[in-house]
């Protein structure tokens, strides 16, 4: 085992997969000579050259489209988009092309691209650098969407995404790039489907994904001090969703809080709530609680930003509500 930061885990996955298969290339803004905004591709330009580590101009829609085209003729491009906000510019090629080409060609062609992008709030980056948008991608047929919560999944899921034959959106998080975890030194893969119970509990379930898993874990610790046993479920994959794991944990604990960093309307929490109502309504002992961002563009002012984005205390309070304690 080796202590590895989230960004290092991503870099290692790139390196191994590029060494393994010449068809793997990566492309994005500042990923080559500059080494990547979050260092996730550092050193790769020197090792694999400019033909395989491609610094692109600031043209998100078309360089994503070029990656998609290359994937249709056998390449395995890993496309980095510096912030998920900028991925909005690439929605045409991602949603209208990558997600639909297999289907509308009757299965003749595929688009095995990986798009990696950080999607979350950091510190006072204001509205145009703080979008989360997972809900937009998870509502699109033909895409896979995953949200690695730490280095283990960041490494293992990227490796799987590169080898998968589907377009995979990997949503990372600015506040997780320096998160450290011990991961095996030998090569391993983590699957692109399946939620995971990351903390066992019996009184209540806290459901999170991406950074909100960490809020759930912190809230679970506080609940433990109160004598409450909280289970934490990391969704891991938002598309397709693991309905079975959601049902199992709700049937086990009978109470649930869904924590998302995004705004609530038509969001991840709304979808999970619907699944719970459809699959295990009678297992509930109380109304499910959603913890989510305020329905505002993310403000610059630190105090306002803090008020807009949920934290571990919000999840804790939500749990108390679901438990009927407040």
């Amino acid at each position: 085992m080796a202590e590895t930061a989230y960004w290092e885990a991503i870099r290692r996955a790139h390196d191994e997969e590029m060494a393994n298969d010449k068809m793997v290339i990566c492309m994005g803004e500042d990923i080559g000579i500059a080494g990547g905004t979050y260092k996730a591709t550092s050193g790769l330009y020197e090792k694999y050259g400019e033909e395989r580590v491609i610094d692109t101009p600031i043209s998100e829609n078309s360089y994503t489209g070029i990656g998609i085209g290359a994937s249709m003729v056998g390449m395995r491009p890993i496309i980095e988009i510096m912030s998920i906000n900028f991925a909005l510019l690439a929605l045409d090629t991602l949603i209208n092309a990558a997600a639909k080409i297999r289907y509308m060609s009757g299965g003749q062609l595929q688009c095995p691209i990986v798009m990696r992008t950080p999607g979350g709030t950091a510190h006072q980056l204001a509205a145009q650098h703080s979008a989360r948008l997972a809900r937009m991608f998870m509502s699109t047929s033909g895409l896979r969407v995953v949200t690695p919560r730490g280095p283990l999944d960041a490494y293992g899921m990227l490796k799987s995404a590169i080898r998968s034959n589907d377009p995979v959106i990997i949503i990372e998080h600015e506040q997780m790039y320096n998160l450290k975890e011990d991961i095996p030194e030998e090569e391993f893969f983590r699957p692109l489907e399946g939620a995971e119970v990351v903390r066992e509990g019996s009184d209540i379930t806290l459901i999170g994904y991406n950074y909100s898993v960490h809020l759930c874990l912190e809230a679970a610790k506080r609940l433990e001090a109160d004598g409450i046993s909280a289970e934490v479920l990391d969704l891991r994959a938002l598309k397709p969703l693991d309905r079975e794991s959601i049902r199992k944990t709700v049937e086990k604990t009978n109470r649930v809080v869904i924590a998302e960093e995004d705004e609530a309307p038509v969001g991840v929490g709304a979808e999970i709530m619907a699944i719970i109502l459809e699959d295990c309504f009678y297992a509930l002992d109380s109304q499910p609680v959603r913890i989510h961002a305020a329905d505002v563009p993310v403000p610059y002012n630190a105090k306002l930003e803090k008020a807009a984005i949920p934290n571990a205390d919000d999840v804790y309070q939500g749990a108390l509500k679901a438990l009927g304690k407040i």
């Binding site: 092309a97 595929q110 799987s160």
Partner: protein
Amino acid sequence: MKDADKKRILREMIFYRRFEDRTFEAYMERKIGGFLHLYTGQEAVATGVLEMAVTGQGQKNDYVVTGYRDHVHAIKTGAPAREVMAELYGKETGSSKGRGGSMHIFDASQNFMGGYALVGQPFPLAAGFALGAKHKGSDQIAICFLGDGANNQGTFHETMNMAKVWNLPVLFVCENNQYAIGTRIERSTAVLDQYKRVCAYDMEASQHDGMDVDVVMEASKKAIDFVRSGKGPYFIEFMTYRYRGHSMSDAKGYRTKEEEAEWEKRDPIKIYSERLIKEGIISQDDIKAWEKEIDDEIENDIIKFAEESPEPKVEDLTKYVLDDNPDPRWIGPLQK
């Protein structure tokens, strides 16, 4: 060029015209649904350019991609005409198994990489095929056909820039029919000569008559040789005209009968057949005989195949969304 090839090229153009005319009839009979965009009038462009490319040889073909007016490009690249018609009929035997329809003809076995309904979307896809071909060390090139209207999309500028910066083997073919649906080019576009627009990216470019297939072939050969030799991308513009509306729902109220008549005087099939008759290669009777043969083929083979083919099964509705046989090592389920 051999006489036999000249005859074949003329016959192909007549075939494309009659194929499209027949789809018009089938649409009026409600055998074909959705949107239908016909290529009538522009035949010399796809025919002439692709005559100079590698086509009909399966995976050795150049990569060809276009917009939604795609039937003729698909057939000339190597897609069987009966499968294209079956696709318009929405049948399981269609080019895209009935999932795509008129605007989304695909034949991956011939490197026909699709018809796309988002105007300008094929620009980056084509550059991606070229990037892949270059990376693999293949001498294949990518050929992207789009109309003048597509050049006002951001993807045009973004892709021209990257294609040039990365020296990609891609030929951009602009079929300038002067109308973006119903908006005439003067009303939408600051620079009317489209080939001039790529000088902003220092790209080789030229403009030619798109109604004379000999001119198209000669110009395309030079452009294709340029791209295939590794000199980088090339942008070629052909002046042409679509006789029918943008799609079947278009009454053409935005242009005059006089303008249409002017262009039809320079009909590509008329120009080429008159030339071959003058050269003594064919006679008017040969053309009449071909027309009969083509109509018989369309009716008794192509339409019959489309009519008699089965529709996709409803139980297959969710096939082809994602990889239907994924490797559990990458996909899961997660071992708990």
